[in-house]
């Protein structure tokens, strides 16, 4: 021992528990922050463990100070700032490491444990999924167990069981209060915490442009794009075109959402009865909202463009849920204004010359646009192959390269080249991106649309018919449209290939159950917003208008829960029915204690009587009568009810000086 002060809190095992809990809570961050943060933290934890194990000295103050400045500087160089979600979390992780290193007193240990709780919270800035929630709950349990260990004091260090069981009981006791706070805590519109801007980084989804190659990246993603719950039957698979950004502008390589912003209307001819459904869209950071082609209503706080694309007023930074109505059979855009017509026909003459020439040739040889369309579809049907991994199109004329040389591609290649051919042939055309199909969860009857279902198709404008959807991909790979991406390509990624291999469907069912659970979690836990809170409380019969009333209810409920728990604890310590003789005896002893003659806890009644007789002879006779009755009641054959009343009365009259 090199002069270390024996300290219960800094007992080796207690420190090891703290370090283990810290390692657990920081582990998920190691994958999100730069590698050196995780490595540095691991090194410091190992160093601190060595100090505890060998009872070595903590590092000198100047070294800790230097490392602290170094950590701040490194954070700044890594992120360009020291605030914000990523930089802030980096800094917190590094400072926690420093705290562990210089930890010497019990107070610092408790501080480190509280830092651990803050680190738990920072994890939720990155993800709020169920697995992370469970993992963080385990971390909280570990920290509480560590805290339990510190408060056991000197002596035997508690066993694993002696730590985990009380810690678990503490957490269980906190559950009622947690529920009260979850249900009643006033919600604010939007995300509960004002998340820093960079918390939105890395959201996946469609973009407002399309270049050959960028959708196929999305296809690799198993992430959920949105969920749809239909009222009644789910429409046939090949009609599930989820409309997203509509791309008009074309520069020879990239299709883009045009800059104009012309409000459209929902007036168009429609047929058949509408389809009603509720969409829950995962945050994607952009303005557009999805609907089945074509929308008949608008979600709140949104508008529609002339090309039937729904735009939200605010970027979709949080999960949004809205009700929609769509018509699957429709006719719209019979009249095409000249400026739109010009835009839908424009292309760069100098790029993709062979494609342009082919389009023009078709136009010259055909009697009407329908014939052009048929020629194009025949071309795609006979010569092209659908693949997720097409060769990169690097030349200045990517669509020439695709149409005449490579002839293998993906929806974006087909849609882009088809639209260009149409424009060259003088038929107004545009590219629509969005999602196609989805997966029905048989357990919740929900349609789950993943990023992998991203799709692009074409709309051409025909005289007297308006805008007509043409999906060249369906010509090349009918499977893609009829039964989804996996049917067209075979399973993609690890999970789908496992599912494909699982003939009994166990995995598929598990995945469906998991997805249904996630959906409930999203709707009821993460999506418990102002509106839901009001609905839920209304269903309980509480009409709560504003947060002030809510705060009052929160206080009342907290006090009620606390009171009930307290009452439960008090009642637990009380015997169900108290023996009147014991009550009398305790009063008797209390009176004597006030008179300066306390009974030792282990002192028997006769021994106590002997002491009373020698020290308080003036009350000896009365004390003897009481003791005799008490002894008979408690250790003899018991006394009758009048006798016990008599005993109580005697104790009441008993007045030791």
């Amino acid at each position: 021992m090199s002069g270390a002060i024996p300290n219960a809190a800094l007992d080796v095992r207690n420190v090891m528990w703290l370090l283990a809990a810290m390692a657990f809570v920081v582990a998920p961050h190691a994958f999100r922050l730069p590698e050196w943060v995780g490595v540095f933290f691991a090194l410091v934890v190992a160093w601190r463990a060595w100090i505890a194990w060998r009872a070595a000295r903590n590092p000198p103050r100047w070294l800790v100070l230097a490392l602290t400045f170094g950590a701040v500087a490194a954070t700044f160089f890594a992120w360009g700032r020291i605030v914000g979600r990523d930089a802030g979390t980096t800094l917190l992780v590094l400072m926690t490491a420093m705290k562990l290193l210089e930890m010497k007193t019990s107070r610092e240990v408790v501080l480190a444990i509280h830092l651990g709780f803050v680190l738990v919270m920072t994890n939720f800035l990155f993800s709020q999924s169920i697995p992370l929630g469970i993992y963080m709950l385990a971390c909280v349990w570990l920290f509480v167990a560590t805290l339990v260990g510190y408060h056991r004091g000197v002596g035997r260090t508690p066993t694993v069981r002696e730590r985990l069981v009380p810690a678990g009981l503490l957490l269980v006791q906190a559950v009622p209060l947690m529920l009260v706070f979850f249900v009643l805590f006033p919600r604010v519109q939007g995300p509960l915490w004002a998340l820093p801007q960079d918390a939105r980084a890395g959201l996946s989804g469609l973009s407002d442009s399309m270049t050959p190659g960028n959708i196929s990246q999305l296809i690799q993603s198993e992430a959920t794009a949105f969920r749809a719950q239909f009222e009644g039957e789910i429409p046939p698979y090949q009609l599930l075109y989820w409309r997203g950004p509509v791309l008009w502008s074309f520069d020879g390589r990239t299709w883009k959402v045009p800059d104009f912003n012309i409000t459209g209307s929902l007036s168009y001819s429609r047929a058949e009865k509408p389809v009603k459904y509720v969409l829950t869209v995962e945050p994607h950071g952009k303005h557009w909202l999805f609907s089945l082609d074509v929308p008949a209503t608008l979600p709140p706080f949104s508008g529609i463009r002339q090309d039937l694309q729904i735009r939200s007023v605010r970027p979709v930074d949080v999960r949004v849920r809205y009700e929609m109505t769509s018509y699957l059979e429709y006719r719209y855009g019979e009249k095409l204004p000249a400026n739109f017509r010009a835009l839908a026909l424009s292309f760069d003459e100098r790029r993709n010359p062979r494609t342009v020439a082919l389009g023009r040739q078709w136009a010259a040889e055909s009697a009407n646009p329908t014939e052009v369309l048929n020629r194009a579809l025949r071309l795609f049907n006979t010569q092209f192959t659908y693949t997720l991994e097409p060769p990169l199109l690097t030349s200045e004329n990517p669509y020439d390269e695709f149409l005449f040389d490579v002839k293998r591609g993906f929806c974006e290649h087909f849609a882009g080249s088809f639209a260009l051919l149409m424009r060259a042939a003088g038929i107004p055309a545009r590219v629509v991106t969005g999602y196609q199909g989805g997966e029905v969860n048989p357990l919740s009857r929900e349609l789950l649309v993943r990023q992998a279902d991203a799709h692009a198709w074409v709309e051409v404008w025909l005289e007297e018919r308006g805008w007509v959807r043409i999906d060249p991909t369906s010509i090349v790979a009918p499977n893609r449209i009829d039964s989804g991406i996996n049917a067209a390509l075979g399973p993609i990624g690890v999970i789908p290939s496992l599912i494909a291999a699982d003939r009994l469907g166990v995995l598929a069912n598990l995945r469906f159950a998991w997805d249904a659970l996630n959906s409930q979690w999203n709707q009821w836990v993460l999506g418990y917003n102002v509106e839901r809170q009001r609905q839920f409380l209304a269903s309980l019969g509480l009409e709560i208008a504003d947060w002030k009333k809510l705060a009052i209810w929160l206080t009342v409920a907290t006090l009620a829960v606390g009171g009930l728990v307290g009452l439960g604890l008090v009642l637990r310590d009380l015997p169900v029915r108290r023996d009147p003789a014991v009550v009398a005896w305790e009063r008797f002893c209390a009176k004597l204690a006030r008179a300066g003659l306390p009974r030792a806890p282990h002192e028997g009644p006769v021994d106590f009587l002997a002491r009373i007789e020698s020290q308080r002879p003036e009350v000896a006779a009365e004390a003897r009568a009481i003791v005799e009755r008490y002894v008979e009641a408690r250790y003899g054959e018991g006394i009758s009810r009048p006798e016990s009343r008599d005993l109580l009365a005697r104790v009441r009259r008993f007045r030791p000086a």
Binding site: P601, G604, P605, V606, D607, V631, E632, R634, Y635, E637
Partner: protein
């Protein structure tokens, strides 16, 4: 009244035994009473102390006063089990083996210096104590009623001793220590008659039948739920507290209760009180408890700690 500690059962042969024994062993009334309680509770008694403080005198005095047929076995390192139990000898007249019962076939055995004998001889005696019968040459023979062993032993650190294993210590209901007499008693002892002569002149103060009757009265004393709570609290404290190497066994709990019952009867009471438990507890659990930790307290201290640590419920 019922809790008047001085009011005795009248006529009370137990008080007579105590009074007469106190004239032989001076200044040790408490030990004599505990020894009597042990006998009334049908338990075997172990007296442990350094040589010369009157262990053998006490056991011989009790044997005479109780009016029991008694034999003394001096345990030595060469004692054989047959010396205790008995041996079959060939009878030439009948051409058969005839069993000659050993000293164990008595109502009261005085086993002197039990820890000087080899474990083999010890176990012969200790088995008889537990079973109240002996098995020799394939035949089981019952021992007389009542049957007691009063054993004496030297403290374990003395030369030439075989310590009794814990399982055998457990068979003794109580273990007593006599300790040195106080100055007044010692002076009287020095002035007075030879102890041996005193013992030889002692007349029995009770009969074996009276003793059996008193033993039955012990089991008839009133044990309330509250008292059982107390005994259980004491026992369970030794099991959960880190201060004891090992908790008390259920047999030990039963021994505490029997001892307390006998003590209550000797106090002339029908019901057993916590005080009775406290009076016998050190003698009953002293040889069954070992303290842990830095103190490494001996059994008697550990028992005294136990009393103050557990409140009366």
């Amino acid at each position: 009244m019922l809790i008047d500690a001085r009011a005795r059962l009248a006529p009370n042969p137990v008080e007579e035994v105590v009074a007469r024994a106190s004239r032989v062993i001076l200044g040790k009334e408490r030990q004599i009473r505990l020894a009597m309680a042990c006998i009334l509770a049908r338990g075997h008694l172990l007296i442990e102390d350094v040589p010369g403080v009157g262990k053998t005198t006490l056991s011989q005095t009790l044997a005479r006063l109780l009016g029991l047929e008694h034999r003394r076995i001096q345990f030595t390192s060469d004692l054989l089990p047959a010396d205790v139990i008995g041996v079959s000898v060939f009878d030439r007249e009948n051409s058969t083996f005839r069993f000659h019962p050993g000293p164990i076939f008595s109502q009261l055995i005085l086993a002197d210096e039990i820890n000087r004998a080899s474990p083999k001889a010890q176990s012969a005696l200790l088995e008889a104590m537990e079973e109240h019968q002996v098995t020799a040459e394939g035949q089981t023979r019952p021992l007389p009623e009542p049957f007691f062993v009063i054993a004496t032993q030297n403290p374990l650190h003395q030369v030439g001793t075989f310590p009794l294993p814990e399982s055998q210590l457990d068979r003794f209901l109580m273990r007593l220590r006599l300790g040195y007499p106080d100055a007044r008693a010692e002076r009287e002892l020095l002035k007075g008659e030879e102890r041996r002569d005193l013992i030889s002149h002692l007349e029995p103060a009770m009969s074996a039948a009276q003793l059996l009757e008193l033993q039955r009265a012990v089991t008839a004393t009133q044990v309330s739920e509250a008292l059982l709570d107390y005994v259980q609290a004491l026992v369970s404290h030794t099991r959960v507290s880190p201060r004891y190497a090992q908790g008390l066994s259920p047999r030990a709990g039963l021994a505490v209760l029997r001892g307390a019952q006998a003590w209550a009867l000797m106090q002339g009471r029908r019901q057993v009180l916590p005080e009775d438990v406290q009076a016998v507890l050190p003698a009953v659990v002293g040889h069954r408890l070992h303290g842990t930790g830095e103190s490494q307290k001996g059994g008697f201290d550990a028992a005294a700690d136990l009393l103050t640590a557990v409140p009366i419920p």
